[in-house]
Assembly symmetry: C2
Homo-oligomer: 407 residues x 2
């Protein structure tokens, strides 16, 4: 088994990089806090005998050699960036548990057949730069490196500038690191394991995702002297869209969600009718047909809402689309056997959140391990998980990796 206290200690230690008042973490990708945790992670991996390489998008790979140099390494890991008001576990557990697997093997003097490669992917969260799972998406070729380097955050800073600012433009070409298979451990970020009192989720599928950017153009005018029938109110139009997103997701429920997470008014003022509104929007479903139906319903709703608002135009751009993910039966089987062998209660699961594993699954055998988090809560400073569950997940990760790599 892994060293539970050592694993827990690294979670608490790294939570200091971007700690928030309510016990969460604010460590936006490629920020100075991200640089600090990356420096810490690099030093820890090197101290554990790994060779660390960084690619041109800041993806980090810590290699532990195996007995058979002809085999590509078994990958394990996740991400160390967080939401603006994120928790201590989302991504972090999977990355630090991967480090803990290496440390445990070192302590036990175990050499695996295949090498191991611990990964920390850049910008999994997608808050500062879209899309989410950005580093792994470029890794598998869903986007070119140039495309990703040019993407901007809300302040207009590009990925390229942000990488340079923290010194994480690596020499390795993106996508050059080989993997034989990949295993990602993560907190569930949903309520099912807790509700059913199960320790391990064996993740077989992942939801499909569509992300949109929306832009509404009405006309600024005086809030006191512009009669209601003459208004071209961009914010009232936006409000109809928000409620339509909610209604569409409910209509296709329970296997659908829809969210508007961001909105800004250009030149806001109390006594000015909003003339320009920008927003983001997303839908998800584990079923490809439902995802398509959500997209179609959304397009129809936007057209209808805009048609009902004279003098207001609504532009919608789909900025990201990812079909539902199906993980590899062999890796799924290895995870289930590891959980069973260790005596942990377990069940098959669908992932509600997106993960780097989704992207990697288009190129190699992949599956994921989930452990419970308190109240199913994530993307919140109050996100929580127990030391026992984190340790169980790390143990399943260890034994899955051992079975895939061979000893």
């Amino acid at each position: 088994p892994v060293n539970s206290d050592r694993l827990w200690g690294t979670i608490l230690e790294t939570a200091a990089f971007g700690a928030t008042p309510k016990g969460g973490v604010r460590r936006l990708t490629l920020s100075q806090e991200d640089r600090k945790v990356r420096d810490w992670f690099k030093a820890a991996c090197e101290a554990a005998g790994c060779t660390v390489t960084v690619d041109a998008l800041g993806n980090m790979f810590a290699l532990r050699p195996g007995r058979d140099p002809s085999r590509a390494p078994i990958g394990l890991g996740s991400h160390l960036d967080t939401q603006p008001t994120g928790g201590k576990f989302d991504g972090i557990l999977g990355t630090l548990a991967a480090l803990e697997v290496v440390r445990t093997l070192n302590d036990a003097g175990i050499e695996t057949e295949a090498p191991l490669c611990v990964a920390n992917w850049t910008n999994e969260e997608g808050s500062r730069f879209a899309p989410a799972m950005m580093g792994s998406a470029a890794f598998v070729g869903d986007f070119t490196v140039e495309n990703i380097l040019g993407r901007k955050d809300a302040e207009g800073v590009t990925v390229k500038e942000a990488l340079e600012a923290i010194g994480y433009v690596g020499a390795a070409p993106v996508g050059s690191q080989p993997f034989e298979a990949f295993v990602e451990l993560h907190i569930e970020q949903g309520p099912i394991l807790e509700a059913e009192n199960k320790t391990i989720g064996v993740v077989e599928h992942g939801q499909g995702i569509v992300w949109y950017d929306g832009h509404i153009t009405g006309f600024e005018s005086h809030a006191g002297s512009t009669p209601m029938p003459l208004r071209r109110d961009a914010l009232a139009t936006f409000s109809q869209i928000v409620l339509a997103v909610e209604a569409i997701a409910r209509k296709h429920g329970p296997d659908a969600v829809g969210t508007v997470g961001e909105v800004t008014i250009a030149n806001p003022s109390r006594n000015v009718i909003p003339g320009e509104v920008n927003f983001t929007c997303e839908f998800r479903s584990p079923h490809a047909e439902i995802l398509k139906a959500l997209e179609a319903d959304f397009a129809a709703a936007v057209t209808e809402i805009a048609a009902g608002r004279k003098g207001v135009t609504v532009e919608i751009e789909q900025v990201w689309r990812k079909d539902p993910t199906h993980f590899d039966p062999k890796v799924i089987g290895a995870i289930r056997e590891a959980a069973e062998g260790l005596g942990y209660s377990n069940r098959p699961m669908v992932s509600g959140a997106g993960h780097d594993a989704f992207n990697l699954a288009t190129r190699m055998p992949v599956a994921m391990i989930f452990v419970s988090c308190k109240d199913g809560l994530s993307h919140n400073e109050l996100e929580d998980a127990t030391q026992a569950d984190c340790t169980a997940g790390a143990n399943v990760l260890l034994h899955t990796v051992l079975s895939l790599a061979g000893v």
Copy 2:
């Protein structure tokens, strides 16, 4: 008559202080741009022989002596601050036309019986600090000076700090400047004069106004893994409120308007359900009973919306309330006679926008002169008015002031 080209020249000249790309003005109250136009205005008034005093809230008063020192001055003027994307005329016309009245009287060598006092009121717009018409509200005692000095803008800067930063904390106590009566010239900011092809609006009433600050507390959670029925979405709740504001105003139309002008999500992120939303909201009507009905309907709608959103709370604070204004029959008569005497077509009007004149009307005889603006448009960079209409308004201002002051 006034010197039309000189008046027009001052409008174009001062529009340079905060000029925007689309031909508008961004001159938020107590900003550096505001300081520049204030310095210009002070110098111009002194060059026209006036004595300029500034009170503790930055309200500016330029005194032109009269023949009868026992009479309080006839006041004229408006404001020089603008909306974030405002125009060249809103407030500015009334202030610079008042200066032009003084210059015209100087040119003609006319001494009035009562003295004249040209005023530039601080923060009429209410965009940077609430409420609107702030300087004149404190002048008539609606708020204490201490209360106003402590009010903060979105960056947390207080009125006191902003006044100090531009050097406009004056020595005169707020409210100490006497007035016998007050006349304010302004663009209509609405479509009626243009539609009816009338030159002068004789403003008899002003709309009542209520302003609110709203705060919605839901709960941040993951946009992908939180099922629709478990969400506590502050932004969806907000959207219902926006549409309720619109529906309530329409229900009480045509003599009612309602607007949500500002919204911000705390810690916004594409893939986080918004947990905290702040917004502003206002209603107006020229009828006291309708204003009360709007307030009651809004309170009821908020209660009902919040009740339908489990785990979401909505707090609403009324931050400003002003009953409809009724101007003084004598000053209204003087304006109508001046317009008739000059041969300008005219009609009685209700003001849709708020004005410093509304506040002053609680303490002295007051009325307003309106001139047409293009498409009724205001609080927009494209706000426009013709030189001929501005000149007509200034002429009516001149003759009204002469009749009130006596020659």
